[in-house]
C-alpha cells in the first residue's frame, strides 16, 4: 500500500481546507462562549481546526448524538402506530476537520461495543461515510496522558488524514488509510506537492518526539489494569470520590462514555422516543422501581466508573475505555482527574 504524503505551507493548508469544504459536508470546531464544539461549517473563517484541546468538546456527538430520535409514535384509543424517524442527517458523506488524535482513537474503542452482538447500523453508517482529518498536537495539555495508554499515538490508524506541523513552517498532509488516500486525491490541489517518505519521516518523527516529551502525566496502563482488577473492595474509592459533586458532566464530555437512556416525550397523542446520554455518576442511574439500588452511594458509582474504564471494558473488549484526553478533568468543577484516581487507588491497594 503506497501511502501518500504531501507537503505544503499555511496558505496551502487553508486551500486544502477549502477544497475539503467544497467536496463534502464538513464539520469543524466552532467557538461559542469560549468553548469549541463541532458544528457544520461552510467557510474556513467560521471555524478553527487548530482549536486548543482543553477547550474543545469531543467528536462523539457526531456519531452518537446527544439525543437521537429512536422513533415517532401515535398512541390513541383507536390504536397505536410507530414510525421510524426521518433520515439520519449524520449518515451523509462528510469530513471532520480539526479532530484530535484522542478523539479519533475513541471511535476505535466505541466500535467494539457498537459492533458487539447486536450491531448498531446507524453508527456504522456514520463511521463509513466520514473522513477524519486530524491535526497532531504540537504539545500536550496539562491533563493529557494519551501516550500512556494502550494505543500507538504516532501511527494511529483511526484517522484517515493526518496533518502535522513540520519544521520551517512546512505542513505535512498524509493519508493514513485507503479511504484517506482516495479522499486526498480528490481534494489536494496544486498548493501541496507530494514528498517521499524518506524526506517526510524524519521531520514527522521529530515533531512527534517533541510532542511526546511534553507530557506532564505518565503512567503504565498495564500496571494500573492489573492492580485495579484485584482491589474491588478498597476503601480508597471513598477517599478519591470525596469531593465529587456528582454533577455527571464527566460522562457527557467523555469521548468514550457510551451509556444512554431511553425516554419518551409525549404531548397529546403523538410523541417521540429519544435515546440520550446518561451518566453512571447519577444517583438514580441504577435505581430500580422497587427502590433497590445497587450503587446508592457516591464511592460505589465512582468505583463503577473507574473500573469500567480500566478493568471491565478491558476484560470484555480488550481496550481501555479511556483515551487520555483529559476532557473530564477540565470539565469537572472540582478537577477530579481520572488519571489521579486510578493511580491513587491502585497505589493504595498495593500497600495493604
Amino acid at each position: 500500500m503506497s501511502v501518500e504524503t504531501f507537503v505544503t505551507d499555511k496558505a496551502g493548508l487553508q486551500k486544502f481546507y477549502e477544497a475539503v469544504m467544497a467536496s463534502r459536508e464538513t464539520y469543524a470546531p466552532v467557538e461559542k462562549f469560549g468553548k469549541f464544539d463541532f458544528k457544520r461549517v461552510a467557510r474556513v473563517t467560521e471555524c478553527d481546526p487548530e482549536s486548543p484541546i482543553a477547550k474543545t468538546q469531543s467528536i462523539k456527538p457526531l456519531f452518537f448524538p446527544r439525543s437521537a430520535k429512536v422513533m415517532k409514535f401515535v398512541a390513541t384509543s383507536a390504536g397505536t402506530d410507530v414510525s421510524e424517524t426521518d433520515e439520519d442527517p449524520l449518515a451523509v458523506k462528510r469530513a471532520i476537520l480539526g479532530v484530535k488524535h484522542c478523539d479519533a482513537r475513541s471511535l476505535q474503542v466505541l466500535d467494539k461495543v457498537y459492533n458487539w452482538d447486536y450491531i448498531d447500523t446507524d453508527y456504522q453508517k456514520r463511521r463509513e461515510n466520514t473522513v477524519i482529518i486530524s491535526t497532531r498536537c504540537d504539545r500536550a495539555d496539562t491533563h493529557c496522558f494519551c501516550t500512556s495508554l494502550d494505543y500507538d499515538v504516532e501511527n494511529l490508524d483511526a484517522l484517515d488524514v493526518l496533518i502535522v506541523n513540520g519544521s520551517d513552517g512546512k505542513i505535512y498532509i498524509k493519508a493514513r488509510t485507503p479511504k484517506g488516500e482516495s479522499f486526498l486525491k480528490e481534494t489536494v490541489t496544486g498548493q501541496a506537492s507530494p514528498v517521499t517518505d524518506e524526506i517526510a519521516s524524519p521531520d514527522l518523527k521529530k515533531q512527534y518526539d517533541a510532542f511526546a516529551g511534553s507530557f506532564r502525566l505518565k503512567m503504565d496502563y498495564k500496571e494500573v489494569n492489573a492492580k485495579l482488577s484485584k482491589i474491588f473492595d478498597t476503601p480508597e474509592f471513598e477517599n478519591v470520590s470525596g469531593n465529587c459533586v456528582s454533577c455527571n458532566t464527566c460522562a457527557f464530555v467523555c469521548p468514550t462514555c457510551h451509556c444512554f437512556k431511553i425516554s419518551d416525550e409525549k404531548v397529546k397523542d403523538t410523541g417521540v422516543r429519544y435515546k440520550s446520554y446518561d451518566s453512571c455518576n447519577n444517583g438514580y442511574f441504577t435505581l430500580m422501581a422497587g427502590g433497590h439500588n445497587p450503587r446508592p452511594v457516591k464511592y460505589r458509582r465512582w468505583r463503577q466508573r473507574a473500573m469500567h474504564k480500566f478493568v471491565y471494558y478491558k476484560e470484555r473488549f480488550g481496550e481501555n475505555l479511556c483515551v487520555g484526553c483529559g476532557k473530564c478533568t477540565i470539565a469537572c468543577p472540582v478537577n477530579i482527574s481520572i488519571f489521579e484516581v486510578v493511580n491513587q487507588v491502585s497505589a493504595a491497594g498495593v500497600q495493604e
Binding site: F33, T142, N243, V245, N248, T249, F252, S279, Y284, E340
Partner: protein, 287 residues
C-alpha cells in the same frame, strides 16, 4: 487575602477537641496554583488546607451529599457561600449544631486567568453572615439596604432589541448539552428528585434539544429566583461555559428593584422574596 495558617490551626484544634468528623476546605490541586475542595477526615491532613483568593468553589454544596450527611462538619465560607448556608439553615436542610463555620471577610476571588470574578466586583455581602469564627476585617458594608449594583451584562442585554436578545439566548440554549451539572453543583438544589433531572423530569425527559434545554434552564432558574446567591458554582461546572448567571441575575434584579427586598440569604430565617409579599408590590403590569 491569605488565611491558610488560621484555617489550618482552627481545623487542627477542632479535630483535637473532637468537635468535628470532617472538615471541608480547599487544597491546591496539584498541577497548577488553582484550588479544589477537599474533605478532611484525618487530622494529619490539615496541612493540605489553604485559603487564598483562588478558593473559588462554594463548599456549602458538600452539605447535601453522602460524605457529610449526619456528621459534624467544619466548613469554610465566604460571603456568598454563607448566604447559601443561611438559606439551607432556614430551609431545615442542615442542623446548625452540627456545623462549625469558619467565616471569611472576603476580598474577592479570582478566576483561572487571575481576573477578579464578576460577582466579586459587584458583591454587596463580602463578609460571612453566618459564622462561629470570623477571619479578616469586616468591610462594614450595609448588607440590608446598600445600593444594588446592576449587573453589567444584564444592563447591556436589556438595552438590546428583543430579536437580538432572542437570537443570543437561542445560542445559549442550543449549546446546552443537558448534563445538569449546573443543578448538581448548586448548593441550593438539594431536592432528591428534581424537575429537570433526566429520569424524573415530566415534560422533557432530558432529551438534548434546544427546546428541552430552554425548558430545563428556565424552570430551574425560576425555582432559584429569590434564593440564588450568585456564587456561580453553576457557571464553573458548565462544560459549555454558558452564561447561566444571566438568568439568575435577571431575576435578582427584578426582585431587588421591584419588591425592595434585601438579597437572598442575608438574614437567618428569611426564606426569600417569593415567600412573602407587600401590599405595595407593583401592580401596573396587570390588567
Amino acid at each position: 487575602m491569605n488565611y491558610t495558617k488560621e484555617i489550618q490551626d482552627i481545623a487542627a484544634k477542632l479535630f483535637a477537641e473532637g468537635k468535628i468528623d470532617v472538615f471541608v476546605g480547599y487544597r491546591v490541586n496539584g498541577f497548577d496554583d488553582n484550588q479544589v475542595p477537599v474533605l478532611i477526615t484525618d487530622p494529619q491532613d490539615v496541612s493540605k488546607l489553604v485559603f487564598t483568593d483562588k478558593s473559588v468553589f462554594n463548599l456549602v454544596n458538600y452539605l447535601k451529599n453522602d460524605h457529610t450527611r449526619r456528621k459534624r462538619v467544619g466548613l469554610v465560607v465566604k460571603g456568598c457561600d454563607s448566604r447559601s448556608l443561611n438559606l439551607m439553615l432556614t430551609e431545615s436542610q442542615v442542623k446548625r449544631e452540627n456545623l462549625y463555620v469558619v467565616g471569611i471577610c472576603c476580598e474577592g476571588v479570582v478566576d483561572e486567568a487571575g481576573q477578579k470574578m464578576q460577582n466579586c466586583t459587584d458583591c454587596m455581602v463580602p463578609d460571612a453572615v453566618v459564622s462561629d469564627e470570623l477571619l479578616g476585617t469586616p468591610s462594614g458594608s450595609d448588607t440590608l439596604s446598600g445600593s444594588y449594583k446592576m449587573n453589567a451584562d444584564i444592563a447591556m442585554l436589556a438595552e438590546k432589541p428583543l430579536t437580538e436578545r432572542a437570537a443570543y439566548f437561542e445560542e445559549v440554549f442550543e449549546n446546552c448539552i443537558r448534563c445538569n451539572a449546573c443543578r448538581h453543583s448548586c448548593p441550593l438544589c438539594y431536592c432528591a428528585k428534581c424537575c429537570i433531572d433526566q429520569e424524573t423530569a415530566t415534560l422533557y425527559n432530558g432529551a438534548n434539544t434546544t427546546s428541552g434545554a430552554f425548558h430545563a434552564l428556565m424552570t430551574w432558574s425560576l425555582h432559584l429566583a429569590g434564593r440564588c446567591v450568585d456564587c456561580r458554582n453553576c457557571e464553573k461546572a458548565c462544560p459549555s461555559h454558558l452564561p447561566l448567571h444571566l438568568l439568575h441575575k435577571q431575576n435578582e434584579s427584578v426582585i431587588y428593584e421591584n419588591f425592595q427586598e434585601h438579597l437572598a440569604g442575608v438574614v437567618t430565617g428569611d426564606r426569600g422574596a417569593f415567600y412573602k409579599y407587600s401590599l405595595k408590590d407593583p401592580d401596573d403590569f396587570i390588567m
